[in-house]
Subunit: 93 residues, 2 copies
């Protein structure tokens, strides 16, 4: 679960999550909401999942836009844990 994925694994997973892009050694998506309150509601759900799984994305809130950036520091790159959290975040957005 926490083993760094190969480039071809990453490309395959990104094909399943088309809104996400690879940026350096991380994956990133920006979500658009109606307003700041909706952004914060999403961020709090992401935070609950992050704390539960002990896997914490970088979270940037810019009014109605929330950017999540994910990597697995222990593994030094992108792992299945990142795609699992990315997929979950998509499901609650």
């Amino acid at each position: 679960m926490t083993q760094k994925l190969t480039e071809s694994d990453i490309d395959q997973r990104l094909g399943e999550l088309p809104e996400w892009t690879k940026v350096n050694e991380e994956i990133q998506r920006t979500y658009h909401f109606d307003d700041f309150v909706s952004s914060m509601a999403f961020v709090n759900k992401v935070a609950d999942a992050a704390e539960r799984d002990q896997h914490h994305p970088d979270i940037l809130i810019r009014y109605n836009k929330v950017t999540l950036t994910l990597s697995t520091h222990d593994a030094g790159g992108i792992t299945e844990k990142d795609f699992a959290l990315a997929s979950y975040c998509d499901s609650i957005a």
Copy 2:
């Protein structure tokens, strides 16, 4: 309240808030907390104030670090509203 401050006004206000720095046409501070849960507790208090005042900082959460970036878009720069919110955020951190 929403008039863009002069450079000398900004320098004076920054003297009163030494943890804040001017970055381009914004002011910025990074707060350090014990953990992610503490970061989120702070962010939710900031979010409540932001929504109440209808003045929303950019908020970057990186585990135990929270960076706030403030400017007043309507005024095209830094105003008293930014320093008022900065001061309030310092008081609840």
